[in-house]
């Protein structure tokens, strides 16, 4: 993704998706935002990787989101409510998002100096997702939100790493890692409702 208006639009959309993941309480909207976020991450990766290799990430990400969605769909009620050890009110979350943006604005311009292959948009996009994923994992004590936070963090890392490493094995392993996290997340979501096997 080159710098310019399209790049800026994708970045704004990435921030909006990450904010939706953090703030929305309805799991349907959260998974919708996750799916859109994987598409935007795919757009960010395409300048560095061939289209067919980049699409591995898109497919793996969408499958991960679908796995979580199917699991939540089959749960009769909330398996675990957020115990809210930390405040989750919108003003607090908006303030936290601005803090993440502040940190990213300091780090992103320096990142392309480390890696010449990385564009400034990729640095911004990757770091926003990493920061928002960290925030999500740190603020939540529910399994579902922690897993979504981990997936968000990993997709941010994948944008950054794709610019410096274009290996088929890495693409495959990262795809399997995403799917495995979603599978484990699905298991943890329904573990209380599953009958124990002898």
């Amino acid at each position: 993704m080159d710098t310019g208006l399209p790049g800026l639009i994708v970045l704004v959309l990435i921030l909006a998706c990450a904010a939706a993941l953090l703030m929305n309480r309805d799991w349907r909207w959260v998974l919708g935002a996750l799916g859109l976020q994987y598409f935007l991450a795919f757009l960010m990766i395409t300048p560095s990787w061939p289209l067919e290799l980049a699409s591995v990430k898109l497919v793996a990400g969408w499958m991960a989101a679908a796995l979580l969605g199917l699991t939540r769909l089959n749960l009769v009620e909330e398996p675990q409510s957020d115990t809210r050890r930390l405040p989750t009110s919108p003003p607090f979350l908006i303030l936290s998002t601005f803090l993440v943006l502040l940190v990213v604005s300091g780090a992103a311009p320096a990142l392309p100096d480390w890696a010449r292959q990385m564009s400034i948009d990729q640095a911004w996009g990757g770091l926003i997702l990493v920061g928002m994923g960290l925030l999500q994992v740190g603020l939540s004590s529910s399994n579902f939100r922690s897993i979504v936070g981990l997936l968000c963090l990993l997709s941010g890392f994948e944008i950054l790493y794709a610019s410096v490493e274009a290996s088929l094995l890495v693409a495959a392993l990262l795809g399997v890692l995403n799917l495995s996290i979603a599978l484990v997340g699905s298991y943890l979501l329904q573990t209380v409702t599953v009958e124990p096997r002898q």
Binding site: L154, L160, L169, V170, L173, L177, L188, T191, V192, Q198
Partner: protein, 480 residues
């Protein structure tokens, strides 16, 4: 046949196959243990990349296998470690007879071990971080069994292990830059910081250690023990790969000092925490933390000496964790209360498990005549001249850990010498096998193996330590 097919794909596929095996018999255990024992023997006896003639037949184990444009390579240098890994996988499989973890343990442990071996053999070696993360994910369902609420430790463990992946992968990429321009101090500092963070998450070092005792309390001790032995061992060998490949890391005294500091702190803190804890599951977690601390102290000695001490510490640590986990698993099967008082109360029904528990705690603490003592004395001898403060911290931590054994022994003695009440408050249902450990052949076999292992290694350590240079030879630049 190539070595990755033999030591990675064969056990991995066997594990996947047993996931679909439904009958509740011991067929998977017998087959899996036999295959692992066979793989141990092959790694010990058959050279790789050499044509062997057996009668009219000739065969050769090739060292490498291409996969998705990269390769998995296992050479003769890795054979001692492969032999060690599969020997202990056999023991962990056989221990299920008395520890009774979930049935899926056999297949999941095979898949995990094959992923760990894949992590040791993948080229470029940095991708090992991804394979280790996959192995961890495979184990999560066993750590949080169906029907029980998910413990906080499981989720924290999962999060910290996933955090390690980006740090280690990025480190690898930065290190290639350091190789290109070795004088760039900024690059060296960044890579050092990323490497430290990555391995702190991966090994559960202070201050990211909190998942270890939480997981050890909430999950089955045998599964936690398996995880806490294989994960740190493979991760530390992976970390040694960095030292072997990058000269600036190998020659930096600062890095070794940091490792000595973190190692001694881990030992001291785990010793102090274990002293004030009353749950024996958490004692297992702290024992593993102490073992990681000793490994770091060993590597912190720098150069070939450090690698040798690391491998010398590995065998007694492996044996100690196996016996401790199996004893706790056996006790948990009879009584879910794993506090000192709860375990002491089961002495009459589980004397062999408690004997194994005491032996393993004293061995892991480094008490003389037991397995951990000889390599630790060697470590302290060298540390006394290089960093005496670290040796002091480690000794204090070990003594604190030994006190746990004393506390447990006292609890058992007090309980067994207490006069019995004439009154029976309420008739308690007794499990059919609760009284029968003393007649159980498997429990006796387990205790005899544990005794021979601990005392044999303690008294005839030279016999075992002779194989250490063979292990260290997999790092030719670190151990020339």
């Amino acid at each position: 046949m190539s070595s990755p097919i033999l030591w990675i794909f064969l056990p991995g596929l066997l594990g996947v196959g047993f996931l679909f095996y439904r009958p509740k018999d011991r067929f998977p255990l017998v087959v899996a243990a036999s295959v692992c024992l066979f793989l141990t023997w092959v790694a010990w006896q058959i050279p790789i990349d050499v044509v062997l003639n057996v009668g009219p037949f000739s065969f050769e184990i090739f060292p490498s296998l291409s996969f998705f444009g990269r390769s998995f390579t296992l050479t003769n240098a890795e054979r001692p470690l492969l032999s060690f890994i599969y020997l202990f996988e056999t023991l962990w499989l056989l221990g299920t007879v008395i520890a009774k973890p979930a049935r899926l343990f056999i297949s999941v442990s095979l898949i995990c071990v094959s992923l760990f071996v894949a992590a040791l053999s993948v080229e470029p070696f940095l991708y090992a971080a991804l394979l280790i993360a996959l192995a961890v994910l495979v184990l999560v369902p066993l750590l949080s069994p169906a029907g029980k609420p998910v413990g906080r430790g499981v989720l924290r463990f999962l999060i910290f292990q996933i955090f390690a992946v980006p740090f280690i992968l990025f480190t690898g990429w930065i290190l290639t830059g350091v190789e290109a321009s070795p004088g760039d101090l900024n690059l060296i500092l960044r890579s050092g910081l990323f490497l430290l963070l990555g391995f702190t998450f991966l090994l559960g070092l202070f201050p990211f250690h909190s998942w270890i005792p939480m997981l050890a309390r909430d999950s089955h001790p045998y599964i936690v023990g398996f995880l806490l032995f294989f994960l740190p061992t493979i991760s530390t060998v992976f970390a040694l790969g960095f030292f072997d490949r990058y000269a600036w890391l190998r020659d930096s005294q600062f890095v070794y000092q940091i490792m000595t500091l973190i190692g001694s702190l881990s030992i001291l803190l785990s010793g102090i925490w274990v002293l004030v804890d009353r749950h024996l599951g958490r004692v297992l977690g702290y024992a593993a933390m102490m073992g990681i601390g000793y490994s770091l102290l060993g590597i912190g000695l720098s150069g070939g000496q450090g690698v040798q001490i690391f491998f010398a510490l590995l065998l007694p640590q492996a044996l100690g964790l196996w016996v401790l986990s199996a004893s706790l698993g056996s006790l948990l099967d009879k009584d879910p209360n794993l506090t000192f008082e709860g375990v002491a109360a089961t002495f009459t029904s589980s004397p062999l498990s408690i004997a194994g528990l005491l032996l393993s705690v004293f061995s892991l603490a480094g008490i003389p005549l037991l397995a951990s003592f000889p390599p630790r004395i060697a470590l302290f001898n060298i540390l006394a001249t290089q960093a005496s403060w670290a040796a002091m911290l480690a000794i204090v931590g070990s003594l604190a850990f030994a006190m746990v054994g004393v506390k447990l022994a006292l609890a058992v003695l007090q309980r067994s010498t207490r006069p019995r009440s004439e009154w029976v408050e309420e008739a308690q249902p007794v499990k059919a096998d609760a009284q029968s450990e003393i007649k159980d052949l498997y429990s006796w076999a387990f205790l005899i193996i544990a005794c021979i292992g601990f005392v044999g290694f303690g008294l005839f350590s030279r016999l075992f330590l002779a194989s250490v240079p063979g292990f260290a030879s997999m790092f030719p630049l670190l151990f020339p």
